[in-house]
């Protein structure tokens, strides 16, 4: 086990810089998820930690030792690849034993270590099989077994669940999290799926086009997104963003509709007058007969546990997610009101939270 420090790391491929100075501190035993859209540099960063990509500038330290020039095998890390990268010509046992047999470990040690990993992952019955004879979930487990056998200081996961079907993904998500808590090994996990990030991480690093947008525990990111990007990326369905301006202590969208401001700002204190972006999560929109803003129903999407309604207020569209079942028809008008305490305000120029 070890901490991982990433200090002002940059990466260029030729003349294109893909990481523009990334710094992340990962504590011993922490489960950190790097999340972001495709091409944001999260996998590149992970591969730099693994030593599969060299570091253009900056420093990466594992357990206090700078590893910029340490070859991958000496970094004491283990990686689970997106396509698992199981050796097709080796049985499950040989796949898991490969690193130890390369290190010329004694036979009993190999047997014991492979046995231990197989027990942890429930692979005992599959040791003589070849990867081709395994299901997706089993392959995923073998890939983790290969990492566990090495007893590394840091686990690296590169989108390990993206090749699995939806149901298995939910199951493996819990399994990986449970395993990490049991082994208490520092883990860096890359995904593009914010639900995976929210459910698994101790700490999430949101990345966007080579920059870190925000670092923090999942709920902090949800409750206090630092900027528009994080606000839009975390949470599903995505946060509603309404453009408008603060005038006379109220937020007015383009068509003049007045929206309630958060209490602290209600007196016109913190919210500066001028153009801002008003963010409210669908689940923080409620029905308020009498006092609500009239909104026209466009589409109703019942999911069973909640009802998502696509609404139109003036020129702006608004998604509401309601726990109650709403039998509204398109064209009907519903009175809706955002919960003022849970509204987020962002600067329109910089996108920063106000």
């Amino acid at each position: 086990m070890a901490s991982v420090s990433i200090r002002n790391v940059r990466k260029s491929f030729g003349s294109t810089e893909v990481l523009h100075g990334v710094s992340v501190e990962i504590a011993d035993g922490e489960f950190v998820v790097l999340v972001g859209p495709s091409g944001c540099g999260k996998s590149t960063l992970l591969r730099m930690i693994a030593g599969l990509e060299n570091i253009t500038s900056g420093e990466i330290a594992i357990g206090g030792r700078v590893v910029n020039n340490v070859p991958p095998k000496d970094r004491d890390i283990a990686m689970v690849f997106q396509n698992y990268a199981l050796y097709p010509h080796m049985t499950v046992r040989d796949n898991m034993a490969f690193s130890l047999s390369l290190a010329k470990a004694p036979k009993q040690v190999i047997e014991a270590e492979v046995g231990r990993a197989a027990r942890i992952l429930g692979l005992e019955g599959l040791l003589h099989r070849y990867p081709r004879q395994l299901s997706g979930g089993q392959r995923q487990r073998v890939a983790m077994g290969r990492a566990i056998v090495r007893n590394p200081q840091v686990f690296l996961f590169d989108e390990p669940l993206s090749n699995l079907d939806a149901k298995l993904r939910v199951q493996m998500r819990a399994e990986i999290r449970e395993l990490q808590m049991r082994l208490n090994t520092t883990t860096v996990y890359v995904t593009h799926d914010q639900i995976e990030a929210m459910t698994m991480a101790d700490k999430i690093v949101v990345m966007n086009s080579g920059h870190v947008e925000q670092i923090g525990p999942p709920l902090e990111l949800y409750d206090r997104p630092a900027n528009l990007f994080v606000a839009g990326f975390i949470g599903s369905p995505a946060m509603n963003m309404i453009e408008g301006r603060v005038e006379d202590g109220a937020f007015r969208s383009a068509d003049g509709t007045a929206w309630p401001l958060p209490p602290a700002n209600g007196q016109g204190g913190a919210a500066p007058a001028g153009p801002i972006i008003y963010g409210v999560r669908p689940e923080h929109v409620r029905l308020a007969p009498g006092e609500g803003i009239p909104a026209t129903v466009q589409v109703v999407e019942p999911t069973g546990s909640e009802t998502q309604v696509l609404l139109r207020v003036g020129g702006a569209s608004l998604v509401g997610a309601f726990r109650e079942r709403i039998a509204a028809r398109p064209g009907e008008v519903l009175p809706v009101l955002p919960d003022p305490a849970l509204v987020h305000l962002f600067d329109r120029e910089t996108g920063r939270r106000l």
Binding site: Y87, P88, H89, M90, A103, Q133
Partner: protein
């Protein structure tokens, strides 16, 4: 108002004509569909092979139809030292040339699998020996091996001054044998290299990355990842290569014609020499037929020993 009954009309399916019925008849269809393929195979493959085998058991000469003599030709060949020398050289030629072609071809393929500048240009250049007509390259090698005008001799004697006398490539038994093998290797490398390169490109780079993290050295990555994963395509390419090399004719016939003193005859060139040039058609056929067991053995060997791997076979769950 009168109600007029609709003219009675019963839907009758049009009866298909006899031709349509014939084409719906499965046995007829099978015959029609197979006929072109079977016809071509019979005319161009089965008949010549059958005729060759038949000739081997007769005493046919050119211009004189023969009669059945049983194993007489083979019995004669058993006693013939030239035949045995050709058998030996065919096996030796195939073995040494195959090892050479695969060692150099694999090496080239590994080089080309890396990111090199001008990669496609280099690949195109490497294919050159293979696309040049064999006889043309044979003539080139004939000049290279010429006792008087050899460029190799010129370089060693006149340019570098390392030797006193010109090489005698084709004048005596073993130098001639090895010279032909070298020419064959030169010609065979591109085929091996390009095929193996295709095989190398099917190996996922993430396997090498995983092996790198597992602590494998470059040599270990080669022996424990590349070689086993390349084995299936290696086996197929090797089978083809062995067959092409064992049945080689053009290079040897164009460069040495089996000389000196029949020492570089392959079975194919000897068969031609005896059968066509020597007019003993039956004897030539017998020599050619003697090649069949070797080829069958080589094919079966690579098929069973190299090609089939448990890890490749389907999804069967034991």
């Amino acid at each position: 108002m009168s109600v007029t009954a609709a003219p009675s009309w019963s839907h009758t399916r049009p009866q298909p004509g006899w031709l349509a019925r014939l084409f719906d008849w499965k046995p007829f269809l099978i015959v029609v569909c197979l006929l072109p393929a079977v016809g071509l195979l019979t005319v161009f493959l089965t008949y010549p092979l059958g005729l060759g085998v038949w000739l081997a058991f007769t005493d046919t000469k050119i211009g004189r139809s023969g009669r059945w003599v049983g194993l007489e030709n083979f019995a004669y060949l058993m006693e013939d030292p030239t035949f045995w020398s050709a058998v030996f050289y065919s096996v030796f030629y195939t073995a040494v040339a195959t090892v050479g072609k695969f060692a150099l071809g694999l090496w080239l393929a590994l080089l080309l699998n890396n990111h090199l500048p001008f990669k496609s240009l280099i690949r195109a250049i490497i294919l050159m020996p293979w696309i040049v007509p064999t006889v043309l390259s044979a003539i080139a090698f004939w000049w290279i091996y010429d006792p008087q005008f050899s460029i190799i001799s010129y370089v060693f004697v006149d340019v570098l001054g390392l030797r006193e006398r010109y090489f005698d490539f084709l004048g005596s038994t073993w130098p001639a044998r090895f010279s032909l093998i070298a020419a064959n290797i030169w010609r065979g490398i591109p085929f091996v290299a390009i095929c193996l390169l295709a095989g190398l490109q099917t190996i996922s780079p993430s396997l090498y990355e995983a092996a790198l993290l597992d602590g494998a050295t470059p040599w270990q990555r080669f022996t424990r990842i590349t070689v086993p994963l390349l084995m299936p395509i290696l086996a197929i390419v090797m089978t083809f290569s062995i067959i092409f090399t064992f049945t080689d004719f053009q290079l040897v016939y164009a460069i040495t014609r089996g000389g000196p003193v029949n020492s570089t005859h392959l079975m194919a060139t000897l068969a031609f020499q005896r059968g066509i040039a020597g007019q003993e058609l039956a004897e030539g056929a017998a020599i050619a037929v003697s090649m069949i067991p070797f080829l069958v053995f080589a094919t079966l060997f690579s098929y069973f020993a190299l090609a089939r791997r448990k890890w490749q076979q389907g999804e069967s769950n034991d």
